[in-house]
């Protein structure tokens, strides 16, 4: 052996020994993907369902032989529905050598994660945060949003509500007094005006409340005293159910012919049962037994595997959100043929993959998901669980998506009205 070859071998061995042990570990064994969801606190009911979807996705990938010849391992953390905790979790996972992360199950946690991703050299899939800043002023190339944003979701909801209920001529919104509440009510109202057949309907001033309020009697009285017959409710989770409990008793169901809600969906249906409003429309991620989902092979498989994994035959729509986000990162790894951050980020920009609601992809300019959005109408039922989805309507995001302006705040006034 030549002396030069020996020296090269020594140099190579020294370089390998000097490499970070974590890096070496990352190149062998399972592919470790961080999964940070709200698993405690008020966000837990939603976060746990999203995590279940992600777990099913990992199970499906592993059952099919894994990725790059390796198994996928989820490293699960609780972000506690808290921005600072989501940041702490991301740092901890990065310190453990994890560079691929599913997080931001809500906007509050996504706003913490998004700016951190480049610093930690992570590829982050924002699971379900719909706040506009994520793909606008907070945009960076390390994040992808795997859900429709607020503008698309709530302007589409407004469009669906007015197209399905053209006889309702006066609308009002009840929204939490914050960025999300103001934005979603504004997007909803503008769409109602824009897409109404015939004469422009009246959209009254939004009534504001607190996102975590427990008493809505004042707002209910304002709603009952208004001329409105159509309502958008921007409050979510337990607050929305409390609102319905308090509102139903005073006759709000008789007054309002149509109600659109922020996306609680079957969470509200399960809680309210036969006291569900008869014409309640929701932003809908998935209903496994309703068309077009029922005949979709991804949807069928997700339901079967969810039942196998969790032993529960009533998966929430949020399961599909967790599944879709996980599939985005898994398909990115597959397409990249690597788990390196740069390679995965580049690959995700080009992938198109199947979900419970059809094919989806990401817009290259701002990494916003482009998909078909669904809106479900539910009402009470005589059979257990005493509510039923009666109709599902779809709107292609391409029709309702805003222009990409990464790095710049979204301004609805710049859009054609």
């Amino acid at each position: 052996m030549k002396r030069r070859t020996v020296l090269k071998s020594f140099a190579g061995a020294a370089a390998l020994l000097g490499m970070n042990a974590t890096y070496l570990r990352a190149q062998s064994g399972p592919i470790r993907v961080g999964a940070a969801f709200a698993l405690s606190g008020v966000g837990a009911p939603v976060g746990k369902q999203m995590l279940a979807g992600t777990e099913v996705a990992a199970m499906q990938i592993n059952k099919a032989g894994g990725l790059l010849g390796r198994e996928v391992e989820l490293v699960i953390r609780d972000d506690k529905y808290n921005s600072s905790e989501s940041v702490a979790v991301a740092r901890e996972l990065a310190g453990d050598g994890i560079n691929l992360l599913l997080g931001g199950s809500q906007t509050v946690t996504a706003l913490g994660l998004a700016p951190l991703a480049p610093e930690l050299n992570m590829a982050v899939i924002i699971v379900a945060a719909a706040g506009m800043p994520v793909t606008h002023e907070l945009f960076n190339p390390n994040i992808f949003r795997a859900t429709a944003n607020n503008y698309t979701q709530y302007s589409s909801l407004g469009r669906v509500l007015i197209e399905q209920n053209p006889d309702v001529r006066t609308w009002v919104s009840l929204a939490p007094d914050g960025d999300f509440g103001r934005d979603s009510a504004l997007f909803f109202g503008k769409a109602v005006e824009k897409y109404a057949p015939g004469e422009k309907p009246t959209v009254l001033d939004t009534i504001y409340t607190q996102a975590t309020a427990t008493d809505f009697r004042t707002q209910i009285n304002q709603l009952m005293s208004s001329d409105a017959e159509g309502l958008y409710i921007g409050i979510a989770a337990s607050a929305q159910i409390s609102f319905f409990q308090q509102a139903r008793s005073v006759g709000l169901y008789d007054k309002f012919k149509a109600i659109g809600e922020v996306g609680n969906g079957d969470i509200t249906g399960k809680a309210m049962g036969r006291n569900t409003h008869p014409n309640l429309w929701s932003v809908c991620h998935w209903i496994h037994n309703a068309e077009p989902f029922a005949s979709n092979p991804v949807s069928k498989q997700l339901f079967e595997d969810y039942v196998t994994l969790k032993g529960d035959e009533m998966p929430s729509a949020q399961v599909a959100a967790g599944h879709r986000a996980a599939m985005a990162i898994f398909e990115g790894i597959r397409a990249a043929g690597s788990t390196e951050t740069e390679a995965v980020l580049a690959a995700i920009e080009d992938v198109e993959f199947e979900t419970v609601g059809g094919p989806v992809s990401f817009r290259k300019e701002d990494h916003q998901l482009v998909n078909t959005n669904y809106y479900s109408q539910m009402g009470p039922s005589r059979e257990d669980p005493f509510f039923a989805f009666n109709k599902v309507v779809s709107i292609d995001a391409a029709e309702m998506i805003e222009p990409a302006t990464p790095g710049k705040p979204f301004d609805i006034s710049e859009l054609p009205q």
Binding site: D177, D215, I241, Q245, A271
Partner: protein, 293 residues
């Protein structure tokens, strides 16, 4: 008086009585044992879950509803007895900081138990049919169920006042509260009185859970929303004073209602201003109980 002002007063009263139903047990146990039970909201929550499990989501009648609330009260009373034996009794002669830490731990334990038994899904219980409707007063829509809550709160206050100030049992409790050693020397079974006081406090928490469950989505965190106001009322009214807590609850309810009506864009801020003013103006509360000044 404008219809808006009437609504603010009515709604404030309704909220205030809901707060009082929760705060009554809290101030009761503080008045007797001088323990601030941070787990009170958690036992309120357990009362609500028990009422839901026993009575279901659609109570058949107001009598069934009240009977279920009493079952919840009794069940939480039993939990109170166990809590006294296992936790509170051991804390009577130690620094109050230990009691705070212990009851905080108890609160987390109760939430964990609720999640293990009932899960994290939300449930909704409807008011009984007799009160599941509205009346219109001066253009304002008023739920009959909230009238029922107001009535229950007023009845509970009257009952507590009578028990504390017009009965031998109340006099014995006040004697033990003021000077347990002296009460013991005159033949009062002080440990028994203290145990019964704890059980009574928990019974009140369980009853409040059973009565107020149609007001809120049921989740392991339902107690937190009420108990925060209850703590404020106890502080403003005077620690251990039922009368002070009652008035403070009404004050808080009206301020909160006025805030939501006239300054919705600053939602929730007025009660904190009220708390700050009350602490500066009357640091020992509106009606400080003996031994707390």
């Amino acid at each position: 008086m404008s219809s808006q002002a009437v609504f603010v007063l009515f709604n404030g009263m309704a909220q205030g009585m809901a707060f009082f139903l929760v705060a009554a047990g809290l101030t009761w146990v503080f008045g007797i044992l001088k323990i601030l039970n941070l787990a009170h909201g958690a036992f309120f929550m357990l009362g609500a879950y028990i009422a839901y499990s026993v009575g279901g989501a659609w109570p058949a009648s107001i009598w069934t509803f009240l009977a279920v609330a009493l079952v919840a009260a009794a069940a939480v009373g039993v939990l109170g007895y166990l809590t006294d034996v296992l936790v509170l009794r051991r804390l009577r002669n130690v620094d109050y900081h230990y009691a705070l830490i212990a009851t905080f731990g108890l609160m987390l334990f109760c939430e964990g138990v609720a999640k293990a038994i009932w899960g994290t899904d939300y449930f909704a219980v409807m008011p009984p049919p007799e009160v599941d409707r509205a009346i219109v007063v001066g253009g304002s829509y008023i739920s009959v169920y909230t009238l029922f809550v107001i009535g229950t709160g007023l009845a509970l206050y009257a009952a507590l006042e009578i028990v504390m100030h017009r009965t031998w049992a109340g006099k014995i409790m006040r004697a033990v509260s003021n000077d347990p050693w002296m009460a013991g020397t005159v033949g009062i079974n002080v440990p028994l009185v203290l145990m019964l006081s704890v059980v009574a406090s928990f019974v009140l928490a369980g009853f409040a859970g059973g009565v107020l469950v149609p007001n809120q989505a049921l989740s392991p965190h339902v107690g937190a929303s009420f108990v925060l106001y209850a703590f404020m009322a106890v502080v403003i009214g005077g620690l251990g004073s039922i009368r002070g807590t009652f008035l403070a609850c009404i004050l808080l309810g009206i301020v909160e209602s006025a805030n939501a009506t006239f300054m919705a864009q600053y939602g929730g801020i007025a009660i904190y201003i009220l708390l700050a003013v009350a602490l500066v103006w009357k640091p020992n509360g509106l009606f400080p109980a003996q031994g707390t000044t």
